[in-house]
């Protein structure tokens, strides 16, 4: 029982140390600009298609279900408003981050895990490079930049998806949909919608790096690290979105 707790406390401590070192390296030389660009391409540009698909269909589904529910109260015209609020505040950041965790936390964990078990990380240290500076910090910076951008894209595409459904299924006019959406959003929502992906970018990149770098046990260990990275990153995203949401709800004008 206590051993189990000890393992968890140690894991959390190691994760914080990794986070601290990765953040400190942002301002320390050497800087690996090329690696940041490569990671932005791999993590960000490489994820655009799945982010577009999930964003579009989550907005479409929401419009479909909310339109029906609102019809009971004669408020179908407010579908755009509901889609915009839920997408920007919650669903856009969370779904994008979960998709990114599935694609990138796993990818990072398996790549770094393979490097660990084939002694490439040791070789890197032996050849004068700090693996955290070379591997972790560029992935963190790339995710910090790309995840908020992808979230904005997912939000917009989701609202387009919602508009298509609202227009074709519930015959809501273009002006009504976009006007109610626009009016519904406040700065608090936009801030919340941008703070969340920024926080999630730490989870997506660093959880993947953490499990990758502590991989043991050969190829089987790489598989285990990959699974753990996705599970932990996804769960953390849901836990954090609750707490960030709580902070913004308490700050919102009544």
């Amino acid at each position: 029982m206590f051993n189990f707790l000890k393992v968890w406390v140690l894991a959390v401590q190691d994760f914080y140390i990794l986070t601290g070192q990765a953040l400190r390296n942002i301002v320390r030389s050497p800087h690996y600009g090329d690696d940041i660009i490569v990671q932005m391409d791999s993590i960000g540009v490489g994820s655009i298609s799945i982010v577009l698909l999930t964003g579009f269909f989550s907005g479409a589904i929401m419009a479909l279900q909310m339109g029906r529910a609102l019809a009971q109260y004669g408020q179908t015209g407010r579908t755009g408003m509901v889609v915009a609020i839920i997408l920007v505040r919650e669903l856009g950041p969370v779904l994008t981050a979960v998709v990114m965790a599935g694609r990138n936390s796993s990818g990072i964990a398996s790549e770094l895990g393979s490097m660990t078990v084939t002694e490439q990380i040791d070789a890197m240290r032996a050849l004068g490079t700090d693996p955290i500076q070379k591997l972790v910090t560029p992935r963190l910076i790339a995710t910090m930049i790309m995840l908020p951008c992808l979230t904005v894209i997912a939000d917009f595409v989701g609202m387009v998806g919602g508009y298509i459904v609202a227009h074709l299924v519930y015959y809501i006019t273009t002006a009504q949909y976009w006007q109610t959406s626009w009016q519904a959003l406040e700065w608090n929502d936009v801030a919340q919608g941008l703070v969340k992906p920024f926080v999630f970018s730490f989870v997506v990149s660093l959880v993947g790096c953490y499990f990758g770098l502590r991989t043991t046990g050969g190829t089987q260990g790489v598989g285990r690290a990959t699974t753990q990275a996705v599970v932990v990153a996804s769960v953390l995203i849901f836990i954090l979105t609750f707490f960030i949401g709580k902070v913004f709800v308490s700050q919102a004008p009544s």
Binding site: S114, M115, T118, E119, Q120, D122, A123, M124, R125, A126, L127, G128, T129, D130
Partner: protein
């Protein structure tokens, strides 16, 4: 009279544990300049741990490690980089970077080890020289996945020697290779020793590897190995590890004369 050179590697009562399980128990030894030390031992006996502890990749739980007379036991990672630039390491699985081609892999220490101070114009000629040393001059643009196991091992030797370090650490250089390729790799290790007069610590479980190193020299005239006359035999000593303990240290004759049943296994196994 000049002061005597300090030992290149010195372990003082070094103990290393992983999650409470000891991997090295109270290990002490010294390797002098231009000596070759053959470290024999079964799988899991702690041979690789010794190498990684020697270069500061693993920190000892107790005891002290000296490299070139400098105590590296408590050095922070940044300061260890300078010490590590004085040694080359061949990892067991070669540990070439998958994402880089062979030229970039071999150039890596030249570009990343600050203490090496290699001018940009010198990088390519030195990489070519190192790859020609291991007879892989035509593979610059190939990726590690495109090479055979033996070629990868040779490319890794090129990466280890490209900075011309005075100390080389070889982790099971012949593991998993066929006898002909294994001989080629050992010949390269002997060639490097004889041409550059380097100190080396060679971890292996094959006695014949140690026998080659102890009794053969590289002949630059024909590029082959030749038996060394007794008076010019290289300074080679043997150590044997068993379950984290150093159970034997001595010359080849002493090793062959040992009556310890574990030590005898390594010598007899190859007859």
């Amino acid at each position: 009279m000049p002061a005597e050179d300090p030992p290149v590697i010195r372990f003082e009562n070094v103990t290393v544990s992983f999650d409470g399980v000891p991997a090295l128990k109270d290990v002490s030894f010294e390797v002098g300049k231009a000596q070759t030390r053959i470290l024999l031992g079964a799988a899991g006996s702690g041979k690789t741990v010794i190498l990684k502890t020697a270069m500061g990749l693993i920190r000892p739980e107790s005891g002290r490690v000296f490299l070139f007379g400098q105590d590296i036991t408590g050095l922070p990672e940044k300061e260890l980089f300078a010490v590590r630039s004085k040694l080359g390491m061949l990892f067991q699985e070669s540990a070439l970077f998958d994402s880089l081609n062979i030229e970039q892999n071999v150039a890596y220490p030249l570009l990343n080890q600050k203490a090496v101070q290699c001018q940009p114009g010198e990088v390519r000629p030195r990489v070519k020289e190192a790859l020609e040393f291991v007879e892989l001059g035509q593979t610059l643009k190939k990726f590690p996945s495109e090479l055979s196991g033996g070629m990868r091992r040779r490319a890794a030797i090129a990466r280890a020697v490209v900075t011309k370090p005075p100390l080389l650490l070889y982790d099971s250089p012949t593991a998993g290779l066929d006898p002909i390729t294994a001989y080629t790799i050992m010949a390269l290790i002997i060639k490097e020793r004889d041409l550059d007069n380097t100190t080396a610590l060679v971890v292996t479980y094959r006695y014949q590897d140690g026998n080659l190193v102890a009794n053969f020299r590289y002949n630059p005239d024909n590029g082959e190995l030749a038996g060394a006359p007794a008076q010019t035999q290289p300074q080679t000593r043997f150590m044997v590890m068993q379950e984290g303990r150093l159970v034997f240290e001595g010359s080849q004759d002493e090793l062959e004369a040992s009556r310890d049943s574990y030590v005898q296994k390594f010598v007899r196994h190859t007859d």
